[in-house]
Every structure is written in structure tokens, then in C-alpha cells.
């Protein structure tokens, strides 16, 4: 689904170029749940922008869904730490926003509005927000806003979901609730996920594969499969295998931070 080969990327910083990524390669299979972890500032968000075609690599090749990336990929949904819902739109209208942008929905938007609304209703139910479609974002808690943001990133049935620290601003309980929401949508709708996170437990609980990045300039220094049986239950977080895996990753990150 995603192939990055020998990518390097330099930003034009104020005091000369900043090398954010250097010799980064990563590959994510179709339907796979991949997690990317690494120290902050190592280029994780940059990686996300490269994959979605928002920026071009300085050198190297990016291909998504079998085709080289030259501009916005359009098959991806994105969600971030801030839900970024528009306060003048209801939850439903917020979730409809991508359909007003991306083809083929865009040109049929007026004609098929009822159908699209039904789709929103369906998604809201999957993430546990049924009945909240007519509320405004400010009437929702942070966790609920993040659920709505997840719906917005999924409404156009993307083949690829890019999540950049989506749960980082939530409290621990809400976060675990949303892990389960994400786990369930992913198992139901079968898209490919790239999840950037600081939370190693989150990565181990959700992902099939975990990629560890080095400090800037970022490259993938380790790729680790996680083989716990699915569907996973939150209880798995307290098993020895799980905590061991988290521990190993923790040491790895500590190492790269020192280096």
C-alpha cells in the first residue's frame, strides 16, 4: 500500500536547510495496521505529509496504492491531535466536509445528500456517537470530538487512514476507549492505517507492525511485528508478552534519544 524508498527531506529553515528525514525507507502492506514511534521532532509528521502527497521528498520515491505520488493522494483520510472541527457546523455537517471536496462525491453532493447523511449516521453509530449528529462541536467532550474527527476522516471510504497522534490530548480512560473504537472500525471497514504515536502501549495494542524512528534526521531503525491474536482485548495490555514488548521498545527509544 505504501512504499517509501530512500527518502530524504530537507526543510528550508531560517538558518539554512533542516534535514528532517534522511535515507528513510518504510513499507506498509494493504490492510495492515502500522504504527510509527520515535522521539519528538524526528520527522513523523513529515512522513505523514509525504505519504499523503502534501510535500515532495528532496530525493527518493514515494508510492501509494501502486502509483508514484506526485500530489495530494485523495484516497487518504487524516486525523490529528486536535479534532479541528468547524464550530459553525453541526457534527454531521463537519463529517460531510470531505465529501464536499473530493470526487466523485463532490459533483453529486446536492443530489445525494440524503444518502450521505445516512452514511454519517452509520459511522456515528460505529464510533458510539449515535444521536449526536445535530449537536455542535463545542457541545461535545474532547473524546467525542475526536470520535467525530475519526468519522470525518473515514466518510469518503479512504483506503488509507493517516493518524498523527490522534489520542495524545485525551485522558487515559478516554484514550483506551478510543483505542477500542479504532480497533473496531478498522476490523469492520478494512483499510490500511498508519498511526503516529508517542504512546508505546497504544502502538503495541493496536498495530500489526511497529516502526521505530531515530532522532532527527529520522530514519527507520527497527521494524517489529506484533503477533497478539485478534480481536485484541484491553486485557492483553497486562499480559507479560505485552509488557515485555513495550519494555523493549522503550529501551530502543531511550537509546536513540541519547544518540
Amino acid at each position: 500500500m505504501i512504499e517509501l524508498k530512500d527518502i530524504s527531506l530537507a526543510y528550508a529553515g531560517r538558518t539554512g536547510p533542516v534535514l528532517a528525514l534522511d535515507g528513510t525507507s518504510i513499507s506498509v502492506g494493504k490492510g495492515e495496521f502500522a504504527a510509527v514511534v520515535g522521539p519528538s521532532g524526528c520527522g513523523k509528521s513529515t512522513l505523514m505529509k509525504l505519504v499523503t502527497g502534501l510535500i515532495k521528498p528532496t530525493s527518493g520515491n514515494v508510492s501509494v496504492d501502486g502509483a508514484p505520488v506526485h500530489g495530494p493522494v485523495k484516497i487518504a483520510g487524516m486525523a490529528f491531535q486536535n479534532a479541528n472541527l468547524l464550530p459553525w457546523r453541526t457534527v454531521t455537517e463537519n463529517i460531510l466536509l470531505p465529501l464536499e471536496i473530493v470526487e466523485p462525491y463532490r459533483s453529486q453532493f446536492r443530489a445525494k445528500k440524503a444518502e450521505y447523511r445516512a452514511r454519517v449516521e452509520n459511522l456515528l453509530e460505529i464510533v458510539g456517537l449515535q444521536g449526536f449528529g445535530d449537536r455542535f462541536p463545542w457541545e461535545l467532550s474532547g473524546g467525542m470530538q475526536q470520535r467525530a474527527s475519526l468519522c470525518r476522516s473515514l466518510i469518503h471510504e479512504p483506503k488509507l487512514l493517516m493518524l498523527d497522534e490522534p489520542f495524545a490530548a485525551l485522558d487515559a480512560f478516554t484514550r483506551e476507549e478510543l483505542w477500542c473504537v479504532l480497533r473496531d472500525v478498522w476490523q469492520r471497514l478494512n483499510f490500511t492505517v498508519v498511526l503516529v504515536t508517542h504512546d508505546l502501549r497504544e502502538a503495541v495494542f493496536l498495530a500489526d507492525t511497529i516502526h521505530v524512528m531515530s532522532a532527527r534526521p529520522g530514519r527507520i531503525i527497527e521494524t517489529r511485528k506484533v503477533n497478539f491474536a485478534r480481536p485484541r482485548d484491553l486485557d492483553v495490555c497486562y499480559e507479560k508478552d505485552f509488557t515485555d514488548t513495550v519494555q523493549v521498545l522503550r529501551h530502543k527509544i531511550a537509546e536513540v534519544r541519547k544518540a
Binding site: K49, N82, W88, S141
Partner: protein
């Protein structure tokens, strides 16, 4: 009960102020030429009711005309300036420079160009009041959350799409908020221009009355100005509430 007192308080305060003023003038026997008592001002209102009304109307419509120009040009220029960082950067110094010219200094030029009358007043009102609208609209556009822009751009949204769906609605509270400031400034602009060079308007009336030492009439003009100013401010504040209520309701309620 408390609510009633609270809503009556501003009126009580105004009445109290006038009573105090009246008493102070009488007890200290302040000469009318220095500070006329409210009763004298009221008498002037009665005597010159006609001229005060017609001149107030002139001031009102010239202010509104200048304000309307500001809204149109301010909105357009704000959208243009907020559109891209490059335009923002290149326009900004010029705009700051322009805005820092005291507009009083421009009135004589306008009079040379357009003659004595309403046109210089309208243009002064416009020149003095469009800047805050431009800045506010541009700020609203320029401060779109970059992540939200990324979400849309990754879907293939054009700059125009982002502006239509996010930028423009988002800048509306900034726009309507700036109208309160702009209308006040437009009013100042009109009156300044009328005071310097005009043959109509409250500013003109006051300048005339002043040179004839008719202090009660000068103060009657002042009070007419205050009333007009309050009404126009209240109208734009009401409009702001009506148009962008969501911005008020959403404030500080984004609980995590």
C-alpha cells in the same frame, strides 16, 4: 428583582450624572459660557430642534456611506491580503504606513479635490475606518489551523475550496467584530471632516455655534453625537451577535 435593577442601572447612572451636573452648575454658579447646565442644553434642544435634527441626519448618512464603503473595500482587501502569505507580507508595511497618517491631515486635500460638502466627510469616514476591517478579515484567513488545511488539501482541495469552506466562514466573527470599531471610527472621521470644512452636519453646527459662543447649542450637538454613536454601535453589536453567535457560544467550551 436583581435582574431588573441590573438592566435599569445604566439608565439610573445617566440620570444621576445629569442631576449631579445640574446641581454642580447651579450650586457653583458655573457660567454658561464655560459649562452649560443640562437644563440649558435641553432648552437649546427645544429651540434648535429643527437644525439639530437635519444636521444629525446629514452626519448619520455620511457616516453610513463612508462605513458602507469601508465594509465593501475592507472585506475585499482583507480577503486578498489574507489569501497568501506573500501578499500579506508585501501589503502590510504600506497599510501600516497609511493607517498611521492622521486622517485630519487628509481632509484639506479631500476638500481641494472634491470641494466643501458631504464627499470629503464620506471619504474621511471611509479612510479612517476600513483598516480594522482589512486587518481582522486577513487575520481570520491567515490563522486557519494548518492541520485542518492539510486534511482538506490531502483530499485535493484547492486554495479556493479551503477559503470557501473554512477561511471565509472562520473570518466572519473577526469581520463582524471589526464593524463595531469601524463604525465608531467612521463617525469620528465624519465629524472631524465636518468640523474642519463643511456646510452641513453636526460637526459643522457645533463649529458654528462655538464661534457664536452658543455653548448650550455646542453641548446639545455633543449629546446628539453621543446618542448617534451609541445607536450605531449598538446596531453593529447586535448584528455581530446575530451573524456569528456560534463564535460566542463555542468560546471556552471546548472541554477536553
Amino acid at each position: 428583582m436583581n435582574k431588573q435593577i441590573e438592566s435599569a442601572a445604566p439608565w439610573l447612572f445617566v440620570v444621576g450624572l445629569f442631576v449631579f451636573w445640574e446641581l454642580a452648575c447651579r450650586l457653583l454658579s458655573v457660567p454658561t459660557i464655560i459649562l452649560p447646565a443640562p437644563s440649558a442644553i435641553f432648552a437649546a434642544f427645544q429651540r434648535f430642534g429643527g437644525p439639530i435634527a437635519t444636521n444629525s441626519f446629514v452626519t448619520l448618512w455620511t457616516t453610513m456611506a463612508g462605513f458602507a464603503l469601508s465594509v465593501v473595500f475592507g472585506l475585499i482587501l482583507g480577503l486578498v491580503v489574507g489569501w497568501s502569505r506573500t501578499i500579506y507580507r508585501s501589503f502590510y508595511p504600506v497599510m501600516i504606513g497609511f493607517n498611521s497618517i492622521p486622517k485630519v491631515a487628509v481632509v484639506p486635500i479631500l476638500v481641494m479635490w472634491f470641494g466643501i460638502g458631504e464627499v470629503p466627510a464620506i471619504l474621511t469616514a471611509f479612510l479612517i475606518s476600513f483598516f480594522p476591517i482589512v486587518v481582522n478579515v486577513a487575520t481570520g484567513l491567515a490563522t486557519i489551523e494548518p492541520e485542518l488545511e492539510d486534511v482538506l488539501r490531502a483530499l485535493g482541495a484547492s486554495k479556493l475550496d479551503v477559503m470557501r469552506k473554512v477561511g471565509i466562514p472562520r473570518s466572519m466573527p473577526y469581520f463582524f467584530g471589526s464593524l463595531k470599531v469601524a463604525i465608531t471610527l467612521a463617525f469620528v472621521g465624519t465629524v472631524v471632516s465636518e468640523t474642519i470644512a463643511a456646510n452641513k452636519g453636526i460637526g459643522f453646527l457645533m463649529a458654528q455655534a462655538g464661534s457664536n459662543f452658543q455653548m448650550p447649542l455646542v453641548f446639545a450637538g455633543l449629546i446628539a453625537l453621543a446618542i448617534e454613536g451609541i445607536v450605531m454601535y449598538a446596531a453593529t453589536a447586535w448584528l455581530e451577535q446575530r451573524m456569528t453567535g456560534w463564535a460566542f457560544r463555542s468560546q471556552g467550551s471546548a472541554a477536553a
